[in-house]
Amino acid sequence: MISPLLHDDPHTVGPFRILARLGGGGMGTVYLARSAGGRTVAVKTLHTRLAADTTLRTRFRLETDAARVIGSDHGAVVVDADPQAPTPWLATEYVLGPPLDAAVEASGPLPEPAVRALGAALAAGLEQLHRSEVVHRDLKPSNILVTAQGPRIIDFGIARAFGDEHLTSVGSAVGTPAFMSPEQAAGLEHAAAGDVFALAGVLVFAATGVGPFGGGAPTDLLYRVRFGEPDLGGVPESLRPLLVRCLAKDPAHRPSTTELRTALGGAGVTPGDRGGFADLLPDAVLREIARRSDQVWHQPPHRLPPPVPTEAPRSETAAAPGVSRRRLLTVAGGALLGGGLLGGGGWALFAGTGDDGGGGTKKDAVDRPKPPAQLWSTTIRCPDAGGEVMRAGRNLVVRAGIVLCGINAESGKGTWQANIAETWRSATDGTRVYALRGYTEDAAALAVCEVSQANGELGKPLVELSAFTGKSQYNQLLCVADGIAYLVARAASGGRWYLVAADLKSGKERWRSRVEGPQSQGFPPVLSGAVAGSQVVLCGAPSEGSKFIGLSAHDKDHGRKLWEMSETFAGTNPPSQLVLDDRNLYLGAENLTARRLSDGGLEWLLDNKPDDGAGEERRYGAPTLHDGVLYCAKADEGLIAVDALSGTLNWQEKGLSGRKNNRDVAPAIGKRYAYCVDDKGLRAIDLRARKAVWTYEAEPLVLTADAKGGHLYVRQEKRTLALPLA
């Protein structure tokens, strides 16, 4: 059955993308996989370390040939194969049915008509194989898949051509004792008649649930196969004489496959009757077939994390090569401090007091870390949305309801204030601060101005858009990137709403594109917007009482809408910041998802596990992206770290209990610690040990990591404070 990939399973084999594991053993692994054209297959691989063994490699090639010979009616269609690859592989269709042993386990012994139909079809399959001068040599219940259309013979692991002796030396018994032929058990030639013997054993098993020679230790079984009488006590009377002949010790006395097929098939299924075989199967087997037909279409399970302990966390090891590959882009307002965007220059300042060998380091301070003392604290009210701490040059800018405040990053002292009326009317590009001009009768047009960082006053308009009215309180300044301001504004006539790109250098509108107006009282049309690569990505505000938010993307240069979709959103606070890199947009709510920026399609999804106690609440917290790793709180289990590119779970916080994670607050990531908010306060999680090390009593609403300044800003309802970021 379908099970998760292990951390060291390959991502691709040949041209196929690997989705899940189907089975594994000493020789190799079978995977569920998909081609570029979306064809789903089963891929069997031979372990690379075994591929050096010429015998095994030859056997793998023969298996490939045998699988091709048996064909689609009786086996699994071979889609592609490369027996010469360093890791030899064979891709076949994924067959929808349980192995015969699992089927009999589920339903009990099969009724006689089903046994006959099964036997006739298997005899026909062997006939086809033998006609091409191939012997299976390992026919047994686990190598037969029961589909709704009939049995399929798979796994030709030891099949070989007639007279091809070099694979097994005489005396070494290869095969499965319970269904071996006596000649095989004796280490002699097992030819076509040997397969007939094995088939009879399989039919006895199907009719009774036990093989003709019972079970037990392999040596006992081998002896009984060679010298003992088969037990056909539970086999229907009418089948017994035929099976006795098949189980003759002397191969020459056994019937041919053709004879067997005719003898079994008399009362069986008429050719061309599609559902005839399925009608003979017990309910339990049909349900098993239906389950597999449906389940293969479920989202495959997620790859398992590597076993712990393991190497250092990805945020550190992957930093250097990771940054160029998954370059973090300017997000939400162009100047968020989160993530690795601003590099780590300032960190050394604080690392000096840590464990990097700088002077005065005390060993026990490393072993038993304590929450740090605050660097400064200031009284500023935190708004419901847009509470992130932004950087503008050397200073910090924070929103506090209807005012925008400048703060000295080192002292926490307020330097200026500007009245901006609504939180959604201001933005920074990392250096400068911008806001929409307030409406007056003689300055009625919508305008974007720079906010002076000396006194908080709005300068002369950088751009004035007369086609749009400055009167609407819901006009929005989404972000400023590369000298272009992105706004959502109401047209001066007609009352329609547009996404507008305005060039702050030339003072001209570049383009506009229609968007939905405000959906509910008190909310602007768009919750958040950001520029990533060649796109402007928008997250629309939910309409009243709805659990849906709209996501859309526009071409940054021309404004053309590239895609749009709606997404359900559990939890109370929809994302006021978009988390993006140059490939995906990440959202955490009921599921943790990555949507492709290119087309809005789902790149990957970590789904609901109904057993983690989150109930109806938001399950995944607001995520934070840092060096290609996505961090977020999961239910009340703790912090998880997920590879942003693949959706693979890298690690999960250990040993957290009795805390209620506040999942509306995105975590902040430092060099040594990740910071998370729960009902006890601010929790620091050691990135190496993956365990909480201290808790700082606070009720944070927004966390912002400032790698450049070496600060962690903690915004609470009435007070904002700075802690050293470690």
Partner: protein
Amino acid sequence: MERLRQDDPARIGEFTTLARLDADGSRGVPERRYLARSADGGHTVLAFLPSPGGDPARWAAEAQQAARLTQPGFWPVGQLGGTPAFPWHSSPYRPALPLPAVLAAYGGPLPEALVRTLGGTLAEALASAHVLGIVHGGVCPAGVLLTACGPLLSCFGATRATPPAGASPAQATGLETGCLAPELAAGGPVDRAADVYALGAVLAYAATGHTVPERQEIPAGLRDVITVCRSRDPQGRPEPARVLAELLPGAAYGALTGSTEPVPLPGRVVEALSRQSAEVLAAALPTQGH
């Protein structure tokens, strides 16, 4: 999986169409339904389009409504797309047979026990929707999609998406006439009682092969419940919960819809479901190798 015809779209949004869900010449299908796949091969979906005779804008509005629902027993509407003139919606593919295909696979009307479990599940789905004030408005044989885990109602709002003026709704949408309550023909709104009428027609179809059977055609055990659902007077029709109790006496309410376990189905029906699954698994986008 049914072959595409010349007039079928080659692409639906970012998806390439692979096949039709409904057999050629199927009657009473109020939407066009396709199996389709994203260009990277990673996502296979069942995509729904309005039928050519309908009003695409109205249809899109209904789809938008359906996308907001996570109603047990309803086929989920995942992604919405397209333009007002060419709207579509899609959801991840899973093997599903429209009820007419179920009868075709079985070789005729379904056995009474199966009609009872299918009908009971549909009644439960309607009951839980009606409680919330949601009226399906598109119940018909083709709108019932049977999965391994039981039936789901699709074609949400197909009746409402009908242009009301003049023409009979059935002609415009391709809805089976036998599923339209008499009061609708007189211009009445689609309400809960109309859903129950349509449920009666679906039960009749499952048990006899057509939506407007003669009374004596209906198996004796189902005769009364089907007849009362199909009362001309809306007041005379039972609540869906009552229909459930009639079909499956003693069944725990809420136990049928949303099942994640396979339900017992006849061999031939399982065969058709698994064959569809296998065909879609084996299908590859045309331009690429595998």
